[in-house]
């Protein structure tokens, strides 16, 4: 609609298309033999057909191939007859010397097409069905040619000359057809062109064909929902399983546009022709996906170069602006992103591509600027400007309502939900306060969380009624995430309340997650075939480069080109990438959910499922997230050595990709190890580094901020500066309370209990431990609950020996949970606590039940040595020595004592072990 001033670029005849026509003629000559002349077998014939099909559909580049490239590919295809094929092609091309030759050529082409009404078809006859892909292509070429004015024909002729010349000048083996120097030719041509240009016919009919094809469902903005889904799944990372070696090394290089493309000089004299509109759209789709998937690893400048070139060559392609926007967005270039976003929507008025819109022609004259708002909001969100994002979203809601654009409204609501759940907002008054939406207006008296809940439900309902399946799935995920971390409360604060148990509901989470995955089956029936077709053709053409015969051999070579087979596996998948991402993120969320609920194996399994099944489609962000989870799992269950080894691999793999997440993980691991080893200065340093990674804006990067101050408090605790530790933990608690981070609250309370215990105020610690316990209970955080119980037991134990029995019962109660799902540290602590309980019992006789205390202590000391947790290890050895002493095993006692001494020594001289990994 916006393009009132611009004619959409139509299907233009180019030299490459002429070559393709010649090849089609070879493929389907008017003669009536089953295997036409140059072909020796049916397969050979079919191969050319396939090749031609791919040629008209592939979308790997913006430019049409040059003649030299075409000839090279023909040599791959042709096998024995390549000489004949290439000669024939070049001869035909160079025979086109005058405009009349072109006229004759195209009328000859018409002969290839079988008539629509020719009833008699003989069995052996090859007829190009006018409605087949190739037939359609040919018809469009003929039509486009017929619509050309004489000037247009002259242009074509000049271009064919350049097209051939370029090739012959690069491959001298071919006999040079004499062609005039292009500059002379221009001179020759110019005399043709002094004529009236007014009646230049617009290629309307071609446009219609084009429109017919594209409207079938090339949904350019399909990744919009994906953008939502990727945002949805960024749930906070904590602890998880073993590393998985997938074959994604060097993947980022695979997706950077080849430098030859980027650097291809657009010499105006050189024959550079853009591909057809359809192919361009395919290319854009593919690029957009690649950008989203690979984030910052996607080479920015090279692609920007291509886009600039494209903008110059085809200024009417507005989508170039959108791609430039995406490119700058994922490279964190705020100003360029803003500029390009505005530019795109100014030109396209938002009417391009959004095929999830209900096409009501009446409203079109106003443009679809609400979509611009939606995108702008998401951009602000991406850059961490929650306030602006919220402003823009409210504007989007209002405009969508005014324009009655329901789907945009649904997306906007989903985006708002996403924003509210991601970003800590203490109150929305003054932001969403007024009555923009009937749903939001209810929420003026509600807390942010309640508003979010209402919005989520409303958004889900809306998406369902509009049948926006991806959005439905994304919404399910968001609801699951909400259920995971929020206790449902009644919305009304007066009147008879239904009795509600104040607990999160894991079943709900599971339900939501399942209904998200159900999406795949819903989609497989629909199929978004058209877009895949182009990608498939591209892949097919790429595989041409590899000789078929040596395929097996080259695979035997091994790792060298393992990128290719994996690519081969992924290409025929009929499910759209964004969909797979969505399903993948449901697995990620499952892993996180299990992590929180405290089932380490299940969490690990889901992370592994994700890493193996969705590695191809996952965005680099998700891929790093899953790696982070697996490495954390390693660190907790196997110790630092293995974790750091895995981290090294991950670092190499995500070399430049979303560095921050890997960096955070590294800092976390370093901090933990420093604490365990007693390198307090280092710990403090790392902790500070972690803190500065977070954005300075309130409410943004909440995870990181809580993480940093939690670690800060822990460092103080380790340094025995209890008052500071308490202060930090207190302010952290206040922040969590303000932003409703209940799950985090549980661990902060636990930390406070621990601080009090270590500072010797066991009585003060008790209420904190109990509060933490109740938090854990209501959020179903089983593992955390176990460790809270352990702390409680330790507190009781330190109150005096009278409580030891209660403590022991508590410990025994949580032992199954701790041993089944807890990490090394937790197990060790449980063992030590148990041993202490026994030892403090005056009625307990060591000599009788020595193994009751020795076994757990041995186990604990092993675990702690793996962790290099000197302080606890020393304690374990001390107890062991004590027990051995009582038993009278002097030799073992000495050994344990020596170990004790060693650990204490290391703890007191932390600088003794220098750290090669700390090289930030």
């Amino acid at each position: 609609m916006a393009g009132i001033l611009r004619a959409p670029s139509a299907f233009a005849v180019t030299p490459h298309k002429v070559s393709t026509c010649i090849l089609i003629q070879i493929y389907a000559p008017p003669a009536q033999i089953s295997v036409p002349f140059p072909f020796s077998s049916v397969t050979q014939h079919n191969r050319l057909g396939l090749y031609l099909l791919a040629l008209t559909k592939s979308c790997d580049d913006i430019f049409e191939p040059k003649l030299a490239e075409l000839l090279n590919q023909l040599r791959e295809i042709g096998g024995l007859m390549d000489q004949w094929l290439t000669n024939h092609l070049t001869n035909r091309l160079s025979a086109l010397q005058s405009p009349d030759d072109l006229f004759n050529f195209f009328s000859e082409m018409r002969g290839i097409l079988g008539g629509l009404d020719s009833g008699v078809v003989e069995d052996d006859q090859i007829i190009l069905d006018p409605n087949s892909n190739l037939g359609l292509f040919l018809r469009r070429c003929i039509l486009a040619f017929n619509l050309l004015s004489f000037e247009g024909v002259c242009h074509l002729l000049t271009n064919i000359g350049i097209y051939c010349n370029e090739c012959f000048s690069t491959c001298p083996t071919y006999e040079l057809q004499h062609l005039d120097d292009p500059s002379n030719e221009v001179e020759v041509l110019s005399e043709y062109e002094n004529m009236d240009l007014e009646n230049y016919i617009s290629e309307k009919i071609t446009e219609e064909i084009e429109a017919g094809i594209t409207s079938k469902g090339v949904s350019f903005h399909l990744y919009l929902p994906k953008a939502l889904s990727t945002l949805v799944e960024d749930i906070e990372a904590s602890t998880n399983p073993k590393l998985e070696h997938s074959n994604k090394v060097g993947e980022h290089s695979l997706y950077t546009p080849s430098s030859s493309n980027a650097l291809r000089n657009v010499d105006p004299r050189g024959g550079v022709f853009l591909r057809s509109n359809w192919q361009m759209q395919g290319y854009f789709m593919e690029r957009a996906e690649a950008i989203e998937k690979h984030g910052s690893s996607f080479s920015s400048s090279a692609f920007e170069l291509i886009l600039r070139q494209l903008q110059k060559l085809a200024p009417e392609l507005d989508r170039v602006h959108f791609l430039r926007y995406l490119n700058s967005l994922y490279h964190d270039d705020y100003f360029a992103a803003l500029e390009n976003l505005h530019c795109y929507f100014d030109y396209s008025a938002g009417t391009e591509g959004f095929d999830f819109l209900s096409p009501t022609p009446g409203t079109n004259s106003f443009g679809r600027y609400e979509i611009a708002l939606l995108c702008l909001g998401m951009m602000h969100f991406h850059f961490g400007h929650p306030k602006q994002a919220l402003e823009v979203f409210t504007e989007a809601v209002r405009v969508s309502q005014q324009q009655s654009n329901d789907s945009c409204l649904a997306y906007t609501l989903a985006a708002i939900c996403n924003l509210l759940s991601e970003i800590g907002i203490s109150s929305t008054t003054g932001m969403l306060g007024s009555s923009y939406s009937p749903m939001i207006s209810v929420g003026t008296s509600l807390s942010v969380q309640q508003q979010l809940f209402v919005l989520l439900k409303g958004s889900l309902k809306r998406a369902e009624s509009l049948k926006l399946k991806q959005l439905v799935a994304a919404n399910h995920l968001a609801v699951a995430k909400f259920d995971l971390t929020h206790v449902q409360r009644p919305l009304i604060s007066f009147g008879p309340k239904a009795s509600m148990k104040l607990k999160t509901c894991p079943i709900n989470v599971c339900k939501e997650l399942r209904s998200c995955s159900r999406l795949v089956s819903a989609f497989s029936s629909e199929g978004s075939g058209l877009t895949m077709e182009g990608a498939f053709c591209t892949a097919w053409l790429k595989n041409l480069q590899k000789p078929i015969g040596s395929l097996v051999l080259s695979e035997d070579h091994g790792s060298g080109n393992n990128a290719n087979p994996s690519q081969f596996c992924t290409q025929p998948s009929s499910i759209h990438g964004s969909l797979l991402q969505l399903v993948g993120s449901s697995y990620l969320l499952r892993a996180t959910a299990w992590e929180m609920y405290g089932s380490a194996p299940l969490a690990q399994v889901h992370a592994l499922v994700y890493a193996t099944c969705f590695a191809d489609t996952s965005s680099s962000l998700d891929a790093t997230l899953v790696h982070v989870k697996l490495i954390q799992h390693l660190a907790i269950f196997k110790g630092y050595k293995e974790a750091f080894a895995a981290l090294k691999i991950a670092e190499e793999k995500f070399l430049c990709i979303s560095k921050s997440r890997i960096l955070i993980l590294k800092l976390q691991l370093l901090h933990e190890r420093a604490l365990h080893r007693g390198h307090l200065k280092l710990a403090q340093q790392v902790c500070d580094q972690l803190g500065v990674l977070a954005s300075s804006i309130t409410g943004v990067d909440m995870d990181l901020k809580t993480e940093a101050s939690l670690r800060h408090a822990r460092t103080f605790l380790a340094a025995k500066q209890f008052s500071q530790a308490t202060a930090v933990a207190h302010s952290l608690f206040c922040m969590c309370y303000k932003f409703n981070l209940q799950v985090e609250n549980a661990s902060v309370l636990l930390l406070l209990a621990e601080i009090h215990m270590k500072s010797g105020n066991a009585v003060l610690g008790l209420p904190y431990a109990l509060a933490s316990l109740s938090f854990c209970q209501s959020f179903n955080l089983d593992l955390l609950k176990a460790s809270a119980t352990l702390i409680l037991a330790e507190l009781l134990l330190s109150l005096g020996t009278t409580h030891r029995k209660g403590a022991l019962t508590l410990i025994h109660g949580v032992f199954p949970m701790i041993l089944g799902h807890g990490g090394l540290e937790l197990c060790a602590r449980a063992y030590i606590a148990e041993a202490k309980c026994h030892l403090s019992d005056p009625s307990f006789s060591v000599s009788e039940n020595s193994e009751v205390v020795l076994d757990p202590l041995k186990q604990a000391s092993e675990d702690l040595q793996a962790l290099e947790y000197h302080e606890l290890a020393a304690e374990a050895f001390y107890l062991m020595a004590f027990v051995f002493d009582k038993l009278g095993h002097l030799e073992e006692r000495e050994e344990a004592a020596a170990q004790f001494k060693k650990h204490i020594m290391v703890l007191e001289n932390p600088q003794a072990v220098e750290d090669p990994l700390f090289n930030l």
Binding site: P268, A314, L338, A349, L373, E391
Partner: protein
């Protein structure tokens, strides 16, 4: 008066040399300035200066600075020796080529000179080829896309020309005209830095080629670039600087330069027109109108810059004058972009927006980089409620020149109209950045912030504050500031601004609801602060008005008197009832 005579001699030679090289517009410009030099009245009969003499009396009315009539002192210009002509070897071929060139057969002209050597024929050959390429480019543009589409047509001669010219440049075989052409080619190829250097060389060695200066100016997009140029101190530099300042919207500096130049070129229509354009940017419409009337009287068939005049007439809503102007220019030259623009303006004023758009489109067909036509067309589309088309048109203007604050402003307004104030802010920010001293822009931005959907009052106040500081003609800002402060309950600030607003209204003799509102607020405010005397002053002033305020004022007065009677120390009695 020696400098005048010098200029005259230099220009006389330059006109001949430039037209000998077929640099028509530069030669036209030089000739205009030549005639524009003020004559010594003693030497000339009145008939020679008939048109010019009469003009000066009117013009002087607006001349603020009388100093300009005296010739410049203190600046010594370098005198560039007038170039010696080439020897007339192969003069015949050159003559033939020139004739072809005159007949616009550029390729033929180039062909004739293919074997000739010498700087002059080299230049003409290359220049002919360049123009041939340009012509072809224009044709191709239409063949490939249609004139209003964006298109990618290039001058196909550029590559070979660049190759040849750079070789010549390396060997030092380029004279200043050759350098100009080389600079032109480099600029087209996007090699701006080298182009700048080459053009500077060109104008330093031959300063009278105005086209070269213009190209150089187009390459000076910021003041820093302009200042970094090393230019000889020739008087042509003054013209250049004036024009460059104008383009960089340093209007006052530009005006000073032009007025300074008028000392020598007292009758230059060019300078008059430029001054008018600067004044237009400074929104001194009265002066602009007088100057253009004058220009039209002297030069009745002038079309250049007349679109600015039509803009003024449009703003002043002079229907008949605008129609007269349109009629006049269409008879002079129908197919000039300026002409179409003037007619478009006329139809726009008449409210016939479809027709107006048609003429703007025609103007753009003739020159698709015609910035103001894009913007004006955007305005028309806004009137026609065709939002996407309007946005598109504005955006095209912005893409042609990202420094066009009007188009940014138009974009902002369009989005504001669509009830997207937050989105519109981006555009207003852009325009305000480019034109920070324009109160209208600040007010527009403030209104966005103030819009009920956003209601970001603090930001709105800041914007209104800026607007009030930059000479807000419509006096919206002060009133708004007062009102917003009042809304926020900051009565001291509100009183301050109401008072200021009141003063302004008094100075400009304006009455109206704003006045009443201000008086009312001030009366109440001072009463609340127990400053009864001031309050009484305002109350008594309110008594002059009718309406409920009068009654309120009365009751206020009464209340104050009651209060005061409570204070024995005060003398109440002398107050008139």
């Amino acid at each position: 008066m020696n400098s005048k005579e010098n200029c005259r001699n230099e220009l006389r030679t330059a006109v001949l040399q430039l037209s000998d090289r077929c640099l028509y517009s530069a030669s036209k410009w030089a000739a205009e300035q030549l005639v524009g030099i003020e004559h010594d009245p003693a030497k000339f009969t009145p008939s020679n200066t008939r048109f010019q003499r009469g003009s000066s009396s009117i013009r002087r009315r607006f001349r603020t600075n009388e100093l300009t009539s005296t010739p410049v002192t203190g600046v010594s210009y370098v005198s560039t020796p007038v170039m010696e002509e080439d020897e007339a070897v192969n003069g015949d071929f050159y003559l033939l080529a020139k004739s072809y060139f005159h007949c616009r057969e550029y390729r033929r002209a180039g062909h004739v000179l293919r074997e000739q050597t010498g700087k002059k024929s080299d230049f003409l050959r290359c220049y002919a080829l360049y123009l041939a390429g340009e012509k072809r480019k224009e044709e191709e543009m239409i063949e490939l896309e249609g004139p209003l589409g964006k298109s990618y047509a290039v001058n196909r001669e550029l590559v070979s020309l660049e190759r040849e010219l750079s070789a010549l440049h390396k060997n030092g075989m380029l004279d200043s005209f050759g350098l100009y052409l080389y600079g032109l080619v480099l600029k087209e190829k996007g090699n701006e830095n080298l182009a700048r250097t080459v053009l500077v060389n060109s104008v330093n060695s031959y300063p009278w080629n105005w086209s070269a200066w213009l190209e150089l100016q187009a390459l000076c997009s910021t003041i820093d670039i302009l200042n970094s140029l090393t230019l000889n101190n020739h008087w042509m530099k003054e013209f250049f600087l004036a024009s460059a300042y104008q383009e960089l919207r340093m209007h006052n500096e530009s005006l000073a330069k032009y007025e300074h130049l008028q000392g020598i070129f007292g009758f230059s229509n060019y300078i008059q027109a430029q001054i008018a354009k600067v004044q237009y940017s400074l929104r001194e419409f009265e002066q602009v109108e007088v100057i253009f009337e004058e220009l039209l009287r002297i030069d009745p068939f002038r079309v250049e810059d007349m679109d600015v005049y039509s803009n003024v007439l449009y703003t002043k809503e002079c229907f008949s004058a605008l129609s007269y102007l349109a009629h006049r220019v269409i008879l002079t030259d129908k197919y000039r972009p300026e002409t179409c623009c003037i007619i478009g303006n006329y139809y726009s004023l008449k409210g016939q927006h479809e027709k107006s758009v048609m003429y703007f489109k025609r103007a753009l067909k003739l020159n698709k980089n015609y910035l103001s036509a894009w913007t004006l067309m955007g305005h028309e589309y806004v009137e026609m409620k065709n939002i996407p088309a309007a946005v598109d048109a504005y955006r095209r203007a912005v893409d042609i020149s990202p420094r066009d604050y009007r188009a940014w402003y138009g974009l902002g307004q369009t989005y504001e109209m669509m009830a997207m104030p937050f989105y519109a802010l981006h555009y207003f920010r852009k325009s305000v950045f480019l034109q920070p001293n324009d109160s209208r822009l600040w007010i527009a931005m403030a209104q966005c912030y103030e819009a009920e959907q956003l209601h970001m009052v603090e930001e709105a106040i800041k914007c209104y504050g800026r607007a009030a500081n930059c000479n807000d003609r419509e006096a919206i800002a002060l009133h708004k500031l007062a009102k917003l402060h009042k809304e926020l309950g900051r009565s001291d600030e509100a009183a301050f601004y109401y008072k200021k607003d009141l003063e302004r209204m008094e100075a400009e003799d304006r009455e109206g609801p704003n006045m009443v509102e201000a008086l009312m607020f001030l009366a109440q405010h001072y009463k609340a602060r127990n400053r009864f005397e001031e309050s009484e002053v305002y109350c008594t002033r309110l008594l002059d008005y009718t309406g409920p305020e009068r009654e309120t004022a009365k009751s206020l007065l009464r209340g104050m008197r009651m209060d005061r009677s409570g204070f024995p120390s005060m003398d109440v009695e002398h107050l008139p009832p």
